[in-house]
């Protein structure tokens, strides 16, 4: 068992519930001991640096300071979310290389009795720990139910191999490590060319025209390659592809039904764990049909039908209303390739 300081990030107790459940289940078998940092706060996602940069760095540094205080067995902070990871890792690097920034950040932290000595912890992404510290061979040894016949498109998203502040990755655009891991699980891995393309991040919320187009490209490529599902390592990527797939279909008159699971859920399945333990069944785009190929039953979600009770102001009377006049969307002239 190797001990780590665990920074879950907000998604793990919310939208990425399946990631949290499956990580809890597979961490032990993978030999990873995660000690949650006490009273950690949000990392600021991609919102703070745009509006209040110093507040952004101070918000992240608060977590680094808490981690530093708890560091004894380990000084490695692990984040399962790519956005959390990149914010923590970048801030950690910037306070180390920019003494003026470090001074200001510590001045802000001091009002709450905290301080951070630059470089006293290191920050790594969970996926990178599994790849580099655990390794595909050790994973293969524990496989009892190979994911034979399941065609998986590996999707990493941007932020793990880029910007890579500590230079841990050789290939920043087409890394193959996730293929080795999924192969070790017995899955059939498709050579997914868009593996490190962006899911659009918050564009799905603030600029749907471009955000949904970026999601369409990802889904289109996966479908052309005949993938049964996407496997990801980031809560934001998962949420965008899962939650907005129906909106992509409406906007582009497509019919994608491609589920996206977290890599830890696939690891758990290959280790013989049942779908419910791994949080499978909480996806918006059901993984039922895909997982039937490997003989795994997906639990039905409990009455997810929209019965009365509108959560937001406007109640969804008609499930598919005709939308009002919209801005004309650029239509892709049936793009042929799966490449960029």
């Amino acid at each position: 068992m190797k001990e780590f300081l665990y920074y879950p990030g907000c998604s793990m107790s919310g939208t990425a519930k399946g990631y949290a459940d499956s990580l809890e289940a597979v961490a032990g078998p993978l030999g990873i001991d995660l000690r949650e940092i006490d009273d950690w706060s949000c990392c600021g996602a991609s919102e703070y640096f745009s509006i209040g940069p110093l507040r952004g760095y101070a918000l992240v540094a608060r977590n680094l300071a808490l981690a530093q205080r708890e560091a004894n067995g380990s000084r490695t902070v692990v984040a399962p979310c790519s956005l959390c990871y990149v914010n923590l890792a970048k801030t950690n690097k910037y306070v180390r290389t920019d003494p003026v920034l470090a001074g200001k950040v510590n001045e802000a932290l001091s009002v709450a009795g905290l301080s951070y000595a630059p470089g006293s912890v290191e920050v790594r992404h969970l996926f990178e720990i599994v790849i580099h510290d655990v390794g595909a061979d050790a994973v293969r040894e524990k496989v009892v139910r190979p994911l034979k016949g399941l065609k998986v498109a590996p999707y990493l998203g941007c932020l793990v191999t880029r910007p890579d502040p500590e230079k841990r990755w050789k290939a920043k655009e087409h890394p193959l490590e996730i293929d080795r891991l999924l192969e070790a699980l017995g899955a059939e891995v498709v050579d997914y060319p868009l593996r490190t393309d962006c899911c659009g991040g918050h564009l799905s919320q603030i600029s749907p025209g471009m955000g949904l187009e970026m999601l369409r490209r990802l889904l289109d490529s996966a479908e052309r390659l005949g993938a049964d599902m996407l496997a990801t390592i980031c809560p934001m990527c998962q949420m965008n592809i899962d939650l907005y797939q129906a909106e992509v279909n409406r906007r582009f008159k497509t019919d994608f039904k491609i589920p996206i699971l977290f890599f830890t859920q696939l690891v758990g399945l290959a280790f013989g764990m049942d779908a419910k333990t791994l949080g499978i069944g909480s996806e918006v785009v059901s993984a039922k049909r895909a997982l039937a190929k490997i003989g795994v039953e997906v639990p039905e979600p409990e009455a997810a039908e929209p019965v009365a009770a509108g959560a937001s102001g406007e109640k969804p009377r008609a499930p598919r209303p005709r939308k009002g006049p919209e801005l004309p969307m650029p239509r892709m002239p049936k793009d042929k390739g799966v490449g960029r």
Binding site: H202, I206, P208, A246, E302, K323
Partner: protein, 194 residues
């Protein structure tokens, strides 16, 4: 995107603008090293919706076109995927420059699109109150304000998220909200001195 920059009158040129932008980025942004090769724009997944490609924008920064740069939607369309930054032959920290430009524009209240900065501000105010992100509050307010037409289409998926426990009606809080707020207040005060 193909706006003819040179057609504009040479009024309001701010030759110190590049220094101002570089100062808004931690460490050395290397912005002055840009050789105008265009690799950034060619690598950018959202360039099609930008008023100016990153390369154009950097030329404008260098030319001191402060008004036009801060009025451009380009930084707000940057998704910080870092394709440009790993491909840039001059290793300019492009997404960080975009963050820096957004913070200058935001400080002067001149962001061209209202949805992007409003989303950031709503997100921040939730974190300021609870110490954690609060999705339910964020999406409810954001969609009602900016995309009411999208709500009916999103509702079934949203209900599914609530039913499967992927979204909470109520926010989660950290214990030391007071401490966090004090840190943020101090940081904001220091920000203003920049």
């Amino acid at each position: 995107m193909t706006e003819a920059i040179h057609d504009r009158p040479a009024t309001g040129i701010d030759h110190d603008f590049i220094r101002e932008v570089m100062a808004a980025v931690p460490g050395d942004s290397r912005l002055q090293m840009c050789i105008q090769c265009g690799t950034c724009g060619g690598s950018c997944p959202s360039a099609a919706d930008m008023d100016h490609t990153p390369r154009q924008l950097f030329a404008m920064v260098r030319a001191g076109l402060r008004e036009q740069v801060l009025g451009s939607n380009t930084p707000w369309m940057c998704v910080s995927c870092y394709y440009c930054s790993v491909r840039c032959p001059q290793e300019v920290h492009i997404p960080d420059v975009m963050y820096g430009l957004k913070s200058i524009a935001g400080r002067e209240g001149r962001s061209p699109s209202s949805a992007a900065p409003n989303f950031s501000r709503t997100f921040m105010s939730n974190v300021h109150r609870f110490g954690r992100s609060y999705e339910m509050g964020l999406v409810a307010r954001h969609y009602l304000r900016h995309f009411p037409l999208r709500i009916p289409g999103m509702a079934p998926a949203g209900m599914g998220m609530l039913a499967s426990g992927r979204m909470d009606i109520r926010p989660k809080r950290i214990r030391d909200v007071k401490g966090l707020q004090a840190i943020m207040a101090k940081a904001e005060e220091l920000e203003a001195q920049l």
